[in-house]
């Protein structure tokens, strides 16, 4: 039961994006299309899982005083790994994610989970937490990317769904930087409304 909680926490209740609003930069920058969103989600999930695992495995070995630098080294290692592998096997995606891959290093979600969770829990729990948080991050990216890609390009995952007429003249701003901020504001407001409804119902 508690393992399930470790796993599912990140989906909604502790969703790193919508609840804690961490890791905003890649989220806002790369939610322009489903393709980017899923790519970034996968990359971040990979790093999250393995940094969580490595840190919880070594949590008794790493001296407390230098734990943060150690975490950073681990995280940077996994990030570089993803970077290289992606460049080798998915060059197009690698190109469109650009600078945000190395920036996963400073993604507060990952360091945050290391410090708040992996550092105190078993390897199994941490693994599940990593997967759960990763899925939560990816889901959030996908939600945002769905809205932005459909509004801003008239397509979803590259498939034209609103017709050519719309695709010729979409609400372009949705995939420009302002669109990311404004839509994020409305999504957060929607969450606030849903939460309030739930509270009242309870």
């Amino acid at each position: 039961m508690s393992l399930w909680k470790d796993f599912s926490n990140g989906f909604y209740t502790e969703n790193p994006i919508f609840r804690i609003t961490l890791g905003m930069c890649p989220f806002l920058a790369l939610s322009t299309s489903m393709e980017n969103a899923v790519g970034m989600g996968a990359a971040a999930t990979f790093v999250l899982i393995w940094s969580n695992v490595a840190i919880s495995a070594l949590r008794n070995v790493i001296p407390d005083k230098i734990r943060i630098p150690c975490y950073i080294v681990f995280i940077a290692t996994f990030v570089s790994l993803v970077d290289m592998v992606m460049a080798a096997y998915a060059p197009a995606l690698h190109k469109s994610l650009g600078i945000y891959i190395p920036l996963i290093v400073v993604n507060c979600i990952i360091l945050g989970r290391a410090e708040a969770f992996a550092n105190k829990n078993t390897v199994l729990s941490s693994l599940l937490d990593g997967i759960g948080m990763g899925i939560g991050f990816t889901l959030a990216m996908a939600l945002m990317a769905t809205i932005r890609e459909i509004l801003g390009s008239g397509s979803w995952y590259g498939f034209n769904i609103l017709g050519q007429a719309y695709a010729n003249q979409p609400i372009l701003i949705a995939i420009l930087p302002p669109g990311a901020f404004v839509l994020m504001g409305f999504v957060l407001a929607a969450f606030a409304v849903i939460d309030r409804r739930k509270e009242r119902a309870a």
């Binding site: 150690c70 570089s80 080798a88 060059p91 390009s153």
Partner: protein, 196 residues
């Protein structure tokens, strides 16, 4: 002090471990990454030069007295000659100019008379749905067969239609190509002098 040393040692050890792991992965992927990069560019060069001949090969060409029309973007005009069976059949170069929100990089292939054989945008970061439309093969297709030095938008007296509302990017593409071709021409690469 000993404590410090110990901590430093542990951190160092961890870092080395990580570096070693990365070194290993790097070894596994380095060639592939490099090859990917080369391949991407080679494919691009090959595809725009396809009409110049069969079994093409490329070689960089030092052109004496070549002016650099791209100084304001901080780039240089570098020419590659296109060989078919050891014979020079054309040139490839990359043109640069600031478009709407980025420096647009257009790779162009010319025959030895300066006529465009093909072109492709290899880098741009223009407005999606607007400036980016210039990268479409359809639009690029308009350049093929034109005299490179005369490539221009209709607005500017040429033959090429601009994407509505994105003249800036269009000018960057056409203007930079024409500039490059003109520079090549001035250096005497076309016509008799060029054909050797």
């Amino acid at each position: 002090m000993r404590e410090m040393l110990k901590l430093g040692f542990i951190l160092m050890a961890m870092s080395l471990l990580c570096a070693a792991a990365l070194g290993y992965v790097n070894g596994q992927t380095e060639e592939r990454i490099a090859a990917q990069r080369e391949q991407a560019k080679a494919d691009a060069m090959l595809s725009i030069s396809a009409t110049l001949g069969d079994s093409l090969s490329f070689d960089s060409l030092a052109v004496p007295g070549l002016e650099n029309p791209y100084a304001e973007t901080g780039r240089e005009l570098a020419v590659v000659e296109v060989l078919s069976g050891g014979r020079r059949v054309g040139y490839v170069f990359t043109a640069y100019r600031k478009g709407y929100s980025s420096v647009v990089e257009t790779m162009v292939a010319l025959d030895t008379a300066g006529t465009v054989a093909g072109s492709t945008i290899i880098y741009q970061s223009e407005t999606p749905g607007l400036g980016t439309r210039y990268a479409s093969p359809d639009w690029q297709g308009q350049l093929a067969g034109l005299d490179g030095a005369a490539v221009a938008l209709e607005r500017d007296g040429g033959d090429i239609s601009a994407v509505t509302g994105a003249t800036v990017t269009g000018r960057a593409v056409t203007g930079s190509v024409a500039d490059g071709v003109a520079a090549l021409g001035q250096a005497g690469l076309f016509g008799d002098g060029g054909a050797e």
